[in-house]
Subunit: 353 residues, 2 copies
């Protein structure tokens, strides 16, 4: 072996879900929004003075921070921006999880957390969800290097409320707690307001789901000035210009168009209710969802088999071959038409087996 | 102090150069291109189907990789993409610089290298440039954890050729060598072809300078499959979707428009020649530049003072208060009109003092 190969990083990469670029598929496997971004965001792109792209974007992206700050009722100094929420969370791990003690997160959760722990050599410990797939806050009591929990959790879709977050914060006065709110807009619950009460609480969010801007990569975090300033320092030690000029422009227009935003969320919540009800009627167990996806199983039926069957019908959903959830499927809430197709194919599958 | 504050990352952030957003200034301080991006890149943005931004971008951004691969005559598997070349280099540090031995780079060079070393705990050692501000390849002989050198170097603007790179590679069979070609298009020299000869040579580049797309954040690396696959694994452990959908579209259009690209480079090289000649006529010492900026001093004159004077005249250039170069200025090559203004104000300064 060549000597230089000895110092190459040896790492198992995260493998993202299948991203077929076929246009005739029903794509319910990546929790993307079935509706386009706000027309105002689209207009912001079309009317952007593209000749100015020769210049670096605003290093702090302050105008977008300001729009987000106004939306959530916090100060500009409480908002951090990144290249998607994965970037924001990766920087947060480097900024806040520097203890010798393990950080804590649920055994069933976003699969990137252990990947970042390995990348940055952060010790971690997972806490099993209850039999009902809920997170027990008492498991997060005691000394630790930090806590990260998505709310709603993924792929379970379950959303916890104020009481849960407050308990978590009371137990964890000694470490930074990150609540990953990637799907929070679909639950109409956010713990952002609690960042004013708890200086060690960081809330992360994304424009990829509720704002239909996955293609543009905008993520953010909200927290105390103490947390945000450290995050800014780490980010400025990594890459000064993470959010590009078009994303800033489209992001601002999106945040300001609350009417379109709320209407889109309402549509998705309505379709989610319908999908949940119809699947339950068919005999599925569907967890109560606060996200833009549902998590379901069917006793006595093989969900992996159903997942494979649906793929042959060009309906893509998500299956995880992981302990405890290997007979569940995660289905993104699509349009009503997509839901019709999905339900028809599921009925065909159930009837035919 | 709150206990949770103990584990916050304590880091001195990189401070980027002044980025005044005044529109009536002559901005020659950030090595931005004075000309707009290719009209085809602008058209790619205007005609982009913005409703598809609801979907994640192509995780591998293969279509843009393919365009870059074709341009440089390498394979798609030899191309890596990131969110600006800072992102690409930061990931490369994590991918390749994992030795206990220090990595090597010049004492006068891109100021981000020590910042990344501190962020990732990479030991480093700097090698002084010669009195003529050139890099002596013999300094990079001997065991090390890796080598990174910009070519042209910044802020000196000096470009080395094949003989230099080959010597460097012969000396460093035991470690990964990164050549940072952020400014290479302005020298018309690239060592990309040598990546076929040396499996441990990685060349990085950016769309921010020669392609006038600083606002979009596109960086890339070219190297052997052995290097690129490790870089991909590290990137996929950090952030799966680093290059957004609009950047991919505009980037492809830009790479394919070689006519516009070459014409723009020619214009900048012509203005650089004129600027260099006129400054030398005025009595300045100007290093021979292979970049879109020049590095100059004037014996017996205070360059910091000139820098401050020009700022009051709304002409922004760059001054570094650093050992060895604290009586130099770095001036971006602008349009001919901007160069007229710059030279007029410099003459006023010299005449008035």
């Amino acid at each position: 072996m060549n000597e230089w190969k000895k110092n190459l990083r040896n790492i198992e990469p995260y493998v993202p879900g299948e991203q077929s670029k076929d246009t005739d598929i029903v794509k319910l496997n990546a929790n993307e929004n079935p509706y386009p971004p706000s027309p105002k965001a689209i207009e912001a792109i079309k009317s952007f003075p593209a000749e100015t792209l020769r210049l670096y974007p605003h290093a702090d992206a302050t105008p977008l921070k300001k729009a987000i700050a106004d939306y959530y009722g916090v100060g500009v100094e409480n908002v951090f921006l990144g290249n998607g929420s994965d970037d924001v969370i990766a920087l947060s791990f480097q900024a806040f999880f520097n203890s010798e003690l393990p950080i804590l997160y649920p055994d069933i959760t976003y699969s990137f957390y252990p990947v970042w722990c390995r990348l940055f050599d952060i010790p971690y410990e997972t806490k099993p969800l209850g039999a009902d797939f809920r997170i027990n806050p008492d498991d997060y009591r005691g000394k630790n290097g930090g806590v990260i929990i998505p709310n709603p959790n993924a792929p379970t879709s379950i959303c916890e409320g104020d009481a849960f977050i407050k308990k978590l914060m009371e137990y964890n006065g000694g470490s930074v707690v990150i609540i990953d709110e990637a799907y929070a807009d679909f639950s109409r619950y956010s713990c952002v307001k609690l960042t004013k009460e708890y200086e060690n609480l960081l809330v992360t969010g994304t424009f990829s789901k509720s704002r239909s801007l996955a293609g543009l990569r905008i993520g953010f975090a909200i927290g105390s000035k103490a947390l945000i300033s450290v995050l800014e320092a780490v980010k400025n030690s990594y890459n000064s210009y993470t959010v590009d000029a078009l994303s800033i422009a489209a992001g601002i227009a999106s945040v300001k168009d609350t009417e379109y935003f709320n209407a889109t969320i309402d549509r998705i919540i309505n379709t989610r209710t319908r999908l949940t009800d119809e699947l339950r009627t068919l005999g599925f167990t569907v967890l109560d969802s606060g996200a833009n996806f549902i998590f379901a199983t069917y006793e006595g039926r093989n969900m992996r088999d159903m997942f494979e069957y649906l793929k042959t019908k060009k309906v893509f959903i998500r299956y995880f071959n992981l302990p405890r959830i290997d007979n569940y499927v995660r289905i993104t809430v699509g349009t009503d038409e997509e839901t019709d197709t999905l339900l028809r194919e599921i009925k065909n599958y159930l009837g035919g087996k």
